[in-house]
């Protein structure tokens, strides 16, 4: 059978960003994790709405201060991540490193506050379903923040080594995508865990 050139791709970019399959892949990963988040929120709401008392008798709803501070830190870190991306697009390697480290520091601060807050809980995970949910969901998000930190640290190391250029920055783009998910995932948890019992 005769073959002829239908289309020539030699001129197409090998450094795609938003069109790169990896970008779509990370969105897929986020879709999966968002479903997990939704399932946890649904489980929480289900038990909250069917319980006669929520939180169980004798407990006040968990304090709002630290979770709210964390919410602010997480949302701020999305801005610093974006700034880091903009810096490398402008060819500013130092700016990229700075932005990445700033974001990592913000998340690290979140971990510290979460750890202090969880240590101060006056209930354990095996006391009642409320405690189980608080610990599990907090732990779930804690682990994700930790993963985002170590992942971004690797990106920062690569940045120090000069891997990223204005053209070759897919790694930064997809890391930012996941970072934004981890940071924003706190919003539904924050609303369900801390405002749910107050509004119900």
């Amino acid at each position: 059978m005769r073959q002829f050139a239908g289309t020539d791709v030699s001129g197409l970019t090998r450094f795609a960003k938003q069109t790169h399959p990896l970008y779509a892949g990370i969105i897929g990963l986020i879709a999966i994790e968002l479903t997990v988040v939704a399932m946890l929120v649904v489980s929480y709401s289900y038990l909250m709405l069917t319980a006669p008392e929520w939180p169980p008798a004798g407990l006040a709803p968990a304090p709002l201060l630290w979770p709210s501070v964390n919410l602010g830190l997480l949302l701020t870190s999305m801005v610093t991540m974006r700034w880091a991306g903009n810096r490398i697009t402008a060819g500013d390697r130092r700016g990229l490193i700075l932005g990445l480290l700033a974001s990592v520091s913000l998340h690290a601060l979140v971990l510290v506050f979460r750890a202090l807050e969880m240590a101060a809980y006056e209930f354990r995970w095996d006391d009642h379903a409320y405690g189980s949910l608080m610990w599990t969901i907090s732990g779930f998000h804690f682990t994700h923040v930790a993963s985002a930190i170590v992942g971004t640290l690797v990106v920062a190391i690569l940045a120090v080594k000069g891997y990223f250029t204005p053209e070759r920055q897919l790694g930064v783009v997809v890391d930012t995508l996941y970072w934004n998910f981890v940071s924003a995932a706190w919003i539904p948890f924050y609303l369900a865990l801390y405002w749910g019992p107050r509004l119900i």
């Binding site: 779509a24 038990l47 995970w125 379903a129």
Partner: protein, 649 residues
Amino acid sequence: MEERREAPTRERRSEEHQEPLHPAIEDDAEETRRLTETWAAPTGFVGWFMPVNQRIIGRRFIVTAFVYFVLAGLLGIAMRLQLAAPENDLLAPEIYNQFFTVHGTAMMFLFAIPVLEGFALFVVPMMIGTRDMAFPRLNAFGYYVYLIGSGVFFLMLLVGMAPKAGWFNYVPLSGKLYEPGLGVDIWTTMITFIEVSALTAAVELIVTILKLRAPGMTLNRMPVFVWASLVMAFMIVFAMPAIIVASSLLILDRLVGTGFFVPEMGGDPLLWQHLFWFFGHPEVYIILVPALGMVSTIITTFCQRALFGYTAIVMSIVATGFVSFGLWVHHMFATGLPHLGMSFFMAASALIAIPNGIQVFCWIATMWGSRMRLATPMLYVLGFFWVFVMGGLTGVMVASIPFDLQVHDTYFLVAHFHYVLIGGSVMPVIGALYYWYPQMTGRMMSETAGKISFGLVFVGFNVTFFPMHQLGLEGMPRRVYTYLEETGWGELNLVATIGSVVLAAGFATTMVNALASLRWGETARRNPWGAETLEWATESPPPPYNQRHIPVVKSREPVWDWREEDERPVVVGLRSDRREVVVTSMLDAEPQAVQVLPGPTIWPFLSALAATVGFIGILFHPVFFVVSFFLAFFSFVGWFWPRRPWQED
């Protein structure tokens, strides 16, 4: 009139895009050799843990899944033998309960999902004309995770520690109090493994299908099997997290004493059922939908006609996918939920008849008055019509709340879902095995053995499962290891057992056929069935890079186009010294970029091991959670570390 395009007789299209005689491309032998080298998979023992090529991984999925099909089938036979006579004592209740738990779990998680994923991984990239999946290493990771998870799970049976709370693991029966051993722990962790494997395959399929289609393969030119795989993948993405959450909560309840499902602690056993069935019902359609895609493929090829009502069939598949998420409560009609609320799910369950009806009648319209080639794949599809329609009809019946309350958890249900799952899924899968075997091995399977196998399967299946409808109506509950003689269920059970032996003989014939044909099968010609899709536009078996040139597509049946036109447009400009594929746009498959795929590596295997250490370890000590977190982290760094030298890009 536009509809003529879908007329069953295929007309030659007037192609205004047909360029006036481009210069022909001659393949340079040196270039072909380099391409082979670039895409070759490593060999040797260590090499076995390294390949990332989609066809190798797909084939491994299929082979492994069929091993579990045989093993779980043997458990089924053992259960049938136990039930052949009343008050039989062939299997003690403890053993029987392990057998049906493992039978159900293995057939659903270890066979059905992986085998359909395997076919999708094997066929879809070729069907859309590309050279590999979008994330080849993730693909390999998915396989190792599946292999380890399924292996550990099945080993539990050999040491007599398998779970015995059913594949649905209802709490509190699956709680530590009533199921103290390691069985359920292993079940939850290994199921999570297999889910992770399914999820990686799903994300890959979605991205591969949406981003790596051959130029010109717009969404409305995608083969129906690709559509079905896409819908399956999306369903996996949104269904599986529910069971991952559910089994994580269960393992926490079991290991550290949380109270998600414990009523005394403010939990609720029904939460488990909601989460489980929110996954469990789509799961059934995850298994069904790609098999329906196989049916469309086989009918098109063996009737040598374009599918009648392509748009309607795609719409039906997509609608089935959506509706399947709105049916889960129909598994819970007896749990004492508000009656009005349940009636919504009765309505939704009944409505599933419409998209499936559309598909069945589109197939009939396609087959109508054709000179059908009655080879084994087509025979299995004809058998599918008989079995699946009956399963569908009983399925609509059990949507009715008052009727379901009588037959729920009886042998009527056992009959129903075996009709749907074996008829709707396994029979098309066996047909697809015969159909795609030449692309997997370069040989044909024996037609004679295939026809014998079909005869045995068809007769054996109906003899086994048809009487179960009556048994259910006579009051025989599911999951009983025996029954009293006075119940009068003995005769029909004996008939079913005899049928199951015939059914097993039928499947065994196919398995032996597949093994024997590896060696003695007739060598396959190019495109032996005269199919229309791109996986046949290359040799059998295809070279490591699948196609010498990625083709450019102008219709739904490109291979038939080329057969008529005797020429074909292809993509040029991909390098042969590294793994390059074309990235195209989602809707219109217009070339956007070139993706450079990574080569073989052992890191995915090491990542799978790291995950195993964690998941098995936490059953014994929580510190393994942290250990595994860092092990997995290091393996991921090794996995994703950029190729050197960077300047090469």
